[in-house]
Subunit: 353 residues, 2 copies
């Protein structure tokens, strides 16, 4: 564990860049004063923002670059134009060269994933990285992955996701043996894609000391908190996440409209506003900000692009915690304990099929 | 359009059977007095319930059978044990033989789908049936399909879903040319599975007079009401539906807990209870009950298994509307207009690939 947590920030990432990234970092710094920042981007813009946040300024170093990856750049474009020069690349590069413990960017997901993969490379045994995030549930929080880093994948990929997600959950929630469920459209054994059924067999057969496979979980089981870690390939993970976010937003809007309908309901709202604040806090999408890129030889956190400073601060917090509790070492242990869990998955898979 | 709408009910379907099905039908009858019912199942149980609902009794005929499909029966088991004898089969059979306009069952989905497919057969050009349901959005209602009848599918399958979903939306919402979106994990053209991108090209190339293809829609676009019809294969459709249902339930529970925390919030709740009723009505999962099996030579509606009489009544309502507005003819027109839209999709697909 490093003395201080050193966070590299892509200060140009996101819909607005420095004017959210810098104040966001300032908020996170108040929560974790043992943080140092490397800020990559247009130094004039960054310094202007830092002037308003003296504590952050004292904990930061600014590294200037003119190049920024656009929010609509395709991954190939971003790599062509921004490799070795863009703020996003440089933030990742700082992690690669050990100058930072984690990089945080609100830049576009495809470009970030491509650059992180290209520059940091994947861990041994991992073909494709994943994005994992914390999902608030009725029972506490769960880790859900993959939220859209890659589409599809075989049983071996799903097992790798289960291992990495468990490492993240055990670091984040401080539990020894997180429960793991595979997202499926039914809980019966015969349900779902073949690769999901195969992954279930593998996880059961592997019977790992570091994760507790509990079976299939349906879409509504995520919010019930039926497992600490919910595993699925990136397409359905992304659909689940966005459908849930959409429903939460829809209900908030309906509630707001309903509460302002009559003077009686407006009065009721005033009296109960403490309760509404509790609800808002629990369902605050800002608090779920910060997707962790898993499977790389370095820590990278992705923030939503269209986010407030408060929201960006949560992504910085996630980066802080992942670095502070040394997620990378935990994942490596998970992948390699007992002579590589994934290799044993491979063997088990061959035995099964 | 028939004089009266004749609805065949699987009175044994669902977690509790007749004690929900019969009172549910009675509720629906008050909303649509021009309905006649055929009730299939254990006549003793059915008659006991009918005794409490004289108006329904007068509009019903009971057909006795001892055999009921279990909620946990596998489709193959259900077919083996319940073919030609079970209440579920007989209700579907009534549709096949023109004795009923639509069958409604709260029995298990796999069995219902297998029996309906086996007995009614699919429409020309349709390989695999789908389940569609109405999804409440901020802009009104949308039709979403497939919610889990089958997993995966090529571009041709997705186009067939788009056509059938549009037929349902145009019947249900009384619109000429419903807007149609393909569910995807991004709105950019390069995103998603190949078959989705191919289906997008096909729908654009076909430029049909009866549907207006508007592009990709992300998971949170469903609740925003970005299209009248949202098309996806059954796995991700089911995941999206359940994730949304789970989130709605989670928020309701959080809200309930929050509102009962202090005497002030409880008082606020009392004053605003009209507003909460409005919200509850809008998000009432009962009202979304009733999945329509599309692509068969007959109308079948699937109700949730664990539902109240009020909820089952909504599924009966859906059956009524589908039959009353003659969805089947509309779908057939959709599939065949201009010399079979699906054949032209096939040709377009060959041209594209």
């Amino acid at each position: 564990m490093p003395q201080k947590v050193r966070i590299a920030l892509d200060a140009m990432g996101g819909d607005v860049g420095a004017s959210v990234v810098v104040p966001g970092a300032a908020i996170s710094l108040t929560r974790h004063p043992d943080t140092e920042f490397l800020l990559f981007g247009d130094s004039k813009l960054i310094e202007a923002e830092l002037a308003r946040h003296p504590a952050l300024k004292a904990a930061s170093r600014v590294i200037h670059t003119d190049v920024a990856v656009g929010m609509d750049d395709k991954p190939s474009q971003a790599l062509r134009r921004g490799r070795k020069t863009s703020s996003m690349w440089l933030a990742i590069d700082a992690v690669k060269h050990g100058e930072a413990d984690v990089a945080v960017s609100a830049g576009n997901t495809g470009a970030l994933m491509a650059m992180a993969r290209f520059n940091l490379r994947t861990l041994p045994g991992i073909d494709r990285p994943a994005i994992a995030a914390v999902w608030p549930t009725l029972r506490g929080d769960s880790v859900v992955l993959d939220l859209g880093a890659s589409i599809g994948g075989d049983a071996h990929h799903l097992v790798a996701l289960a291992l990495m997600g468990s490492a993240m959950a055990s670091v984040l929630f401080n539990i020894e043996r997180p429960t793991v469920g595979l997202l499926n459209i039914g809980v019966e054994e015969m349900k779902g894609h073949e690769e999901i059924r195969e992954a279930a067999e593998l996880l059961r057969a592997m019977n790992l000391p570091q994760l507790n496979y509990v079976g299939f979980v349906e879409g509504d089981g995520i919010g019930k908190g039926l497992a600490d870690v919910i595993v699925t390939e990136g397409f359905s993970g992304n659909i689940a996440l966005k459908a849930a976010e959409g429903t939460a937003r829809q209900m908030s809007e309906l509630l707001r409209n309903a509460m302002s309908r009559t003077w009686l309901s407006r009065l009721g709202y005033l009296l109960a506003r403490g309760a509404f604040q509790v609800l808002r806090n629990k369902m605050d999408p800002n608090k779920s900000n910060g997707g962790v890129l898993l499977g790389l030889k370095g820590l990278v956190v992705k923030s939503h692009g269209g986010i407030s400073a408060e929201g960006f601060a949560y992504a910085v917090d996630v980066g802080y915690e992942m670095a502070h509790y040394d997620l990378l070492t935990k994942i490596n242990q998970m992948l390699n304990r007992d002579g590589s869990a994934l290799a044993s998955a491979q063997t088990a898979q061959e035995a099964v099929s």
